[in-house]
């Protein structure tokens, strides 16, 4: 590698690192302006009357501004969806009603202006039509009434004895222009250095096509066959498993799309593992160190995103592993490849010493 070429690569590396640092700072800053409330309740009904009619929890807004409300709620177990209605009331720090609603995703009235201070979220248990009408009137609920065809369900609560476990989750996120632009910039800052680093990793003297020798071609061909057969075996097993699950009426603990994606990732990992362990993976004209560095950086970013989603309870929702876990799967796969590089390095080292 010429001195000029090396200097360019080092320069690009420094710029990429600086961008990553800026991204990290902005990523941390983006948490400022995100508030959440998560509450679990157990309501026992005796003859249709709830043991507790109102649950409440505080939510502190640290900066005045426009916010978007979003959230969801439901039974904590699959079979515990209640027939009663929950009325939500957001009270300002001075106890006045900021907004009230009875159902649906809360984007309808968003964004709303919130002042700095501690708000109170109230969850009203509404188990009969009179209470429902009273709630609508008392809190002046407009435009977000529970769909009329859903209301008859409330009749099922008449004389009901038993209890429901519920989980309510409300998020309040900043909706200012700056935050929207930040998201775009963050996206660009993440993608640009990755693309640059990938280009450097796969190119030598401007050539993009990777060159492998005859032995590597043979190794990669065997690796591809192995990966293909693993993929076929996985598909057969998955189809079998899905049929059993469908027949039993059970619910899959992982979304089908995520399983399909994971199976593809496993097949790719099998291909790559064989290729790395038999010295077929790295092309002759590829920069091995750069490739490993890029994959390590990608692994860290994807794992960080995965951990972020775990902390936010977005990967496992109501006991189901959702599509947001895809980033985590990719991160784990890249980390696994990193371990394979290490294993291969140690095997080679041992061979040299022997």
């Amino acid at each position: 590698m010429s001195k000029n070429n090396k200097a360019t690569k080092i320069g690009i590396c420094i710029v990429a690192e600086l961008l990553i640092v800026v991204f990290s700072i902005m990523f941390i800053a983006s948490f400022y302006g995100k508030y959440g409330s998560d509450i679990k309740t157990t309501t026992t009904f005796e003859d249709g009357v709830p043991s507790q009619k109102v649950y409440s929890c505080p939510i502190t807004v640290k900066k005045s501004g426009n916010y978007v409300l979003s959230g969801g709620w439901g039974g904590t177990t699959f079979d515990s969806t209640p027939k009663y209605i929950t009325g939500f009331v957001l009270r300002a720090p001075d106890d006045s009603v900021q907004m009230a609603f009875t159902a649906g995703i809360l984007y309808f009235d968003s964004p709303i202006k919130l002042q700095k201070g501690t708000y109170k979220l109230e969850y009203h248990v509404i188990a009969d039509l009179d209470s429902y009408n009273e709630f609508i009137r008392k809190y002046d609920v407009k435009g977000q009434d529970y769909p009329l065809n859903e209301l008859p369900k409330i009749e099922a609560m008449k004389g009901y004895n038993g209890s429901f476990d519920m989980q309510y989750k409300i998020n309040i996120d900043r909706s200012d222009f700056f935050y929207g632009i930040s998201a775009v910039i963050i996206g660009m800052l993440v993608m640009t250095p990755i693309i640059i680093m990938l280009f450097i990793a796969v190119s030598t003297d401007g050539e993009l096509k990777s060159k492998v020798d005859e032995r590597q071609e043979r190794v990669n061909s065997k690796a591809a066959s192995l990966g293909f057969f693993v993929a076929v075996a996985e598909m057969v097993l998955f189809a079998d498993y899905q049929m059993v699950v469908d027949a039993s009426g059970a619910r899959l603990p992982i979304q089908s799309g995520v399983i399909a994606f994971a199976l593809v990732v496993i097949a790719i990992c099998v291909f790559t593992t064989y290729s790395i362990l038999h010295d077929g993976y790295f092309a002759l004209n590829i920069n091995k160190t750069w490739t490993i560095v890029v994959q390590a950086v990608l692994a860290v970013i994807l794992l960080a995103l995965g951990v972020y989603y775990i902390v936010k309870d977005e990967i496992i929702v109501e006991g189901v592993f959702t599509y947001k876990g895809v980033t985590l799967i990719c991160g784990i796969a890249l980390l696994y490849l990193f371990v394979i590089y290490l294993v291969k390095y140690l095997i080679d080292k041992r061979g040299e010493n022997a």
């Binding site: 020798d213 005859e214 032995r215 590597q216 010295d279 790295f282 002759l284």
Partner: protein, 66 residues
């Protein structure tokens, strides 16, 4: 079966596996695999190796025991 003739010829020319690999346009691991007898090269690669080491095919790849 190990190809000791190749290893000896390479050592005779004071070349490393990496240097020979670069001259032949293959990876160092491929030269290593040929020397260890783990890989049978094609005739094209055999010729490239012979040219790099200044030897004939017989000298490097003919099995005298046969």
């Amino acid at each position: 079966m190990k190809n000791l003739k190749l290893k000896a010829a390479r050592a005779g020319k004071d070349m490393s596996q990496d240097e020979l690999a670069k001259q032949c346009g293959v990876s160092r691991q491929t030269i290593n695999a040929i020397e260890k007898g783990d890989y049978n090269p094609t005739i094209n690669l055999c010729i490239a190796i012979c040219k790099a080491l200044g030897k004939t095919l017989d000298e490097l790849f003919w099995d005298d025991e046969e």
